[in-house]
């Protein structure tokens, strides 16, 4: 990757240079103050040296203008850095509207990546250059953290919920991928590489010996697990229809609404009573233990693939009867 002794990580994503600019700005400001104070301390220490120990220093007690100056000026500088870094942060955590979706699960001590078309890989992540990619992931056991230094992105993998990060690679090549949250014996072995390919090469790679596409696998599960018996497409089943529900607003018991994103769908499969769609009885059993994290991801991908039929109101909009007895232990 790099010959000789590297001093600096590769810049291989659109965000890398932005983060580095922020880094160099802060480096410049802090180095200035570090040198300034050190030099002043050194000058004073030498200039006012008196090794007799018998003399006294000048009778100076302080200065309000100086105190205000060296409180306010650093504060203003700090606020400038704060504003700049926060704007970079929001770019880092907000993916563009159109992203290539990849799912991942971390478990001790490996990363599994699942491409929508069905291809799965362990400790390697193939991505195309020049296209925003969003990785949605969770952990099957303890905390992990997906960290790709060359892209300057990182997020904890937390069991029980989804995390995501996004990047747009700008350079083909192979880059480190680490687990950055301590996870036990082989924490430092939970590593891999990101392989950035030209889009054509990526397509070719994807089409070689591929597994079943995720949505199709999700549909299989949807039938096997009998989800289909309640979630009827016409909205007349015991559970809401799912077409078009992904990323839509859903009214839930208790008068609130939530956006039916990946995390909500996951939660609704594994702990359905948590945030029940208003207007439905709490009949759905938990699927915890019946379907693994990868199965849940396939189900979500299947639900995403169900487009709302034109004219059909999304089931979630059904009127909420006032007297639904709720067993939902709502998370606050």
């Amino acid at each position: 990757m790099v010959s000789g002794i590297p001093f600096f990580p590769a810049q291989a994503s659109t965000m890398a240079s932005q983060v580095d600019n922020l880094y160099f700005l802060i480096l410049g400001v802090t180095a200035f103050f570090a040198v300034l104070v050190s030099v002043i301390v050194a000058i004073f220490a030498i200039k006012y040296r008196d090794d007799s120990g018998q003399k006294v220093g000048a009778n100076i007690h302080g200065s309000i203008p100086l105190e205000l100056g060296w409180s306010l000026i650093p504060f203003i500088i700090a606020m400038g850095i704060f504003a700049y870094s926060t704007s970079v942060f929001f770019q880092l955590v907000r993916p563009p509207a159109e992203t290539l979706e990849i799912y991942s699960t971390g478990k001790r001590w490996m990363w599994r990546f699942q491409h929508i078309d069905g291809k799965a890989e362990i400790n390697e992540l193939h991505v195309p250059k020049g296209r925003p990619v969003r990785v949605t992931f969770t952990s099957e056991d303890v905390l992990h953290d997906l960290f790709i230094p060359a892209f300057r992105v990182k997020a904890d993998a937390i069991p029980g919920r989804y995390s995501s990060l996004w990047f747009e690679a700008t350079q083909t090549g192979e880059y480190h991928l680490f687990c950055a949250e301590y996870c036990g014996t082989k924490h430092s072995g939970m590593i891999g590489k990101v392989i950035v390919m030209e889009p054509n090469d990526y397509q070719a790679w994807l089409s070689g010996d591929t597994g079943m596409p995720m949505a199709q696998r999700g549909q299989q599960l949807f039938e096997q697990l009998s989800c289909v018996t309640c979630h009827l497409p016409d909205g007349k089943g015991r559970g809401p229809a799912l077409a078009g529900v992904y990323n839509s607003k859903v009214d839930i018991v208790g008068g609130r609404d939530v956006v039916a994103d990946d995390s909500y769908l996951r939660e609704s499969i594994l702990t359905p009573q948590m945030k029940m769609v208003a207007g439905y009885q709490p009949l759905m059993p938990t699927f915890q233990g019946l379907v693994n994290e990868e199965g849940v991801m396939s189900l979500i991908e299947y639900i995403k693939s169900l487009k709302a039929a034109p004219g059909a109101a999304p089931a979630a909009q059904a009127e909420a009867p006032a007297a639904v007895t709720t067993t939902a232990a709502e998370r606050r």
Binding site: G53, Q54, V56, R108, P149, D156, A180, H187
Partner: protein, 541 residues
């Protein structure tokens, strides 16, 4: 040196010689003896933690994991952290130096609750013994942060015993905090008003506040860990219906303020030493005093900056980033005031001052690199890398331990009545400074390149910086070991220190060295500001 009455009256009564025998120590209620007893335990813990650090650095000399197994390596960094955080950094300045000098500084005979003070020491020792036995009987591998669900569901090491050790030790910290706070309120000598207090007293007061308010939270958190691990209560583990991020909130609600327990007292020491050896009052006394309180209070509002990539909402991250920048200001104010204190001083280049110079250099780098991590857009990349490791070592070791050493060298003549070899102590300060920078500066570079912390095995291209770091650690170890020799020599052959070898202000210097068991012959009366060198004719023996 040392030509006053001490040579004429060798049988002078001091807190060290008025009683003999092991029981006279183990049952003492004298804050000075208790301070020295803390010194013994803290030094032992520092040695232990240092051995673990040596094990870590030796392993990391090569990229492959060829010295220890991964499990052993994980235990080494965990036990390094546990020993250093709970048994060195937190108690070092408050329990050792604070215990010894606080009542002296106030002109008091002892702390407000001398028996409670002794109990604090026993609680501390019991906690230490429990924790060390957890280490001896197999060790613990969770990281000092005890993150769940690893700690409650996955680790098969001595988590419970370590947890109990930390839990018990916490009570020592709370009791000391209460004791100091009451002492400062109630035991000040006549005329010693709040704004005549030495700045170390202000710093200890602010620290006590954090100890009293923060430590119960970590105790409860550790208790919850035990309930989940031992009895299967679902608090943190999502498989039991818990939330792992909740643990991080609770843990850092204490453990971030704990950083201020570690750094505020050394900051107080720095103010004392810098005033004495510049022969001047500390520039902007009230700003330095109030910045301690500001840090203690605002330190409670920034815990989630440890969690920017742990699934908290981006808006919450933004707020915590803002507050973190804000809390940097009082630390900056202190640094500027110390610098200004030197201006037109009469700077006496003695060993304690060398440690102060070292402190300023290292604390500057430690504090300023905090701005990188407070910047949430940059922290995403830097979080959990060696950049963080380097940053907090600059604060806690470069800052806190350097300040602790400044304090030990400053008060050693008062504690023992003996001088040490000044040149040897300066060599120690210089070795620590050079060794420290060589150890930890390369880790900033490694961190930016992306080397994650707690890695037993790492990519080959990072070896050079790791070798530098290990070499630096050897120099650092030498710098820390050297005082053992010249302090021991001082005890045996050191010249008598006299009452006030540095010509310092402050009540602690107006009694004999070592002090009387009851500190002062009568009750001292204060009629001047702290550090009022200008009116004073300084006589250095």
């Amino acid at each position: 040196m040392g030509t006053d009455m001490t040579t004429k009256a060798p049988a002078r009564r001091t807190y060290l010689n008025h009683q003999y025998g092991i029981l006279s120590w183990l049952l003492t209620k004298d804050h000075k003896r208790i301070g020295l007893m803390y010194l013994a335990v803290v030094s032992l813990a520092f040695f232990l933690g240092g051995i673990f650090a040596a094990g870590i650095r030796l392993e990391l000399t090569t990229p492959a994991g060829d010295m220890w197994s991964s499990d052993t390596y994980n235990k080494l960094f965990t036990m390094h952290g546990v020993a250093m955080v709970f048994f060195v950094l937190i108690p070092a300045v408050p329990a050792v130096i604070g215990n010894f000098v606080l009542p002296l500084m106030l002109g008091a005979k002892d702390v407000a609750f001398p028996k409670v003070n002794l109990i604090s020491w026993y609680v501390f020792v019991i906690g230490f013994i429990i924790t060390v036995s957890a280490m001896v009987f197999g060790g613990v591998d969770t990281g000092w942060t005890f993150y769940v669900p690893y700690t409650t569901a996955a680790s098969d090491t001595n988590v419970m015993l370590t947890g109990i050790g930390v839990f018990v030790t916490g009570f020592s910290s709370i009791l000391t905090g209460v004791n100091f706070m009451v002492t400062i309120h109630r035991m000040r000598a006549p005329g010693l008003t709040w704004f005549r207090l030495p700045l170390l007293v202000w710093a200890l007061y602010a620290t006590s506040l954090v100890q009293i308010l923060g430590t119960p939270v970590v105790a409860i958190t550790v208790l919850m860990l035990a309930l989940e691990r031992g009895l299967g209560f679902g608090i943190f583990d999502p498989r039991l219906g818990g939330d792992p991020v909740l643990f991080q909130h609770l843990f850092w609600f204490y453990s971030h303020p704990a950083v201020y327990i570690m750094i505020l007292p050394p900051m107080g020491v720095i103010s004392e030493v810098i005033a004495c050896f510049s022969r001047k009052s500390v520039f902007g006394y009230s700003f330095v005093a109030f910045s301690s309180l500001a840090i203690a209070v605002f330190g409670f509002l920034i815990w989630a900056h440890h969690m920017f990539v742990a699934g908290i909402s981006p808006y919450s991250a933004m707020v915590f980033s803002f507050l973190t920048f804000a809390v940097a200001i009082p630390s900056a104010v202190k640094t500027f005031n110390w610098t200004a204190t030197l201006y037109q001083g009469a700077i006496w280049w003695k060993a304690p001052m060398f440690f102060v110079f070292g402190f300023i250099g290292l604390f500057l780098i430690g504090g300023l690199t905090g701005l990188f991590l407070a910047s949430v857009g940059l922290d995403v990349h830097l979080h959990d890398t060696y950049f963080v490791v380097a940053h907090f070592h600059y604060i806690m070791v470069g800052g806190a331990i350097m300040g602790y050493f400044a304090g030990l060298h400053f008060y050693w003549p008062k504690m023992t009545g003996k001088m040490y070899n000044d040149a040897a102590a300066k060599v120690s300060a210089v070795l620590v400074f050079i060794g420290f920078n060589l150890t930890f500066f390369p880790q900033f570079i490694l961190g930016y390149m992306g080397m994650p912390r707690r890695y037993h095995v790492y990519p080959e291209e990072w070896q050079v910086f790791n070798v530098l770091s290990t070499g630096g650690a050897a120099v650092l170890g030498l710098g820390y070991a050297l005082p053992v020799i010249y302090f021991a020599w001082s005890l045996m052959k050191g010249e008598d220190a006299g009452e006030n070898p540095w010509g310092a202000t402050g009540l602690e210097w107006q009694t004999q060295s070592p002090p009387l068991p009851e500190n002062f012959a009568g009750t001292p009366v204060v009629n001047e500001e702290a550090y009022d060198y200008s009116k004073r004719e300084i006589k250095v023996a």
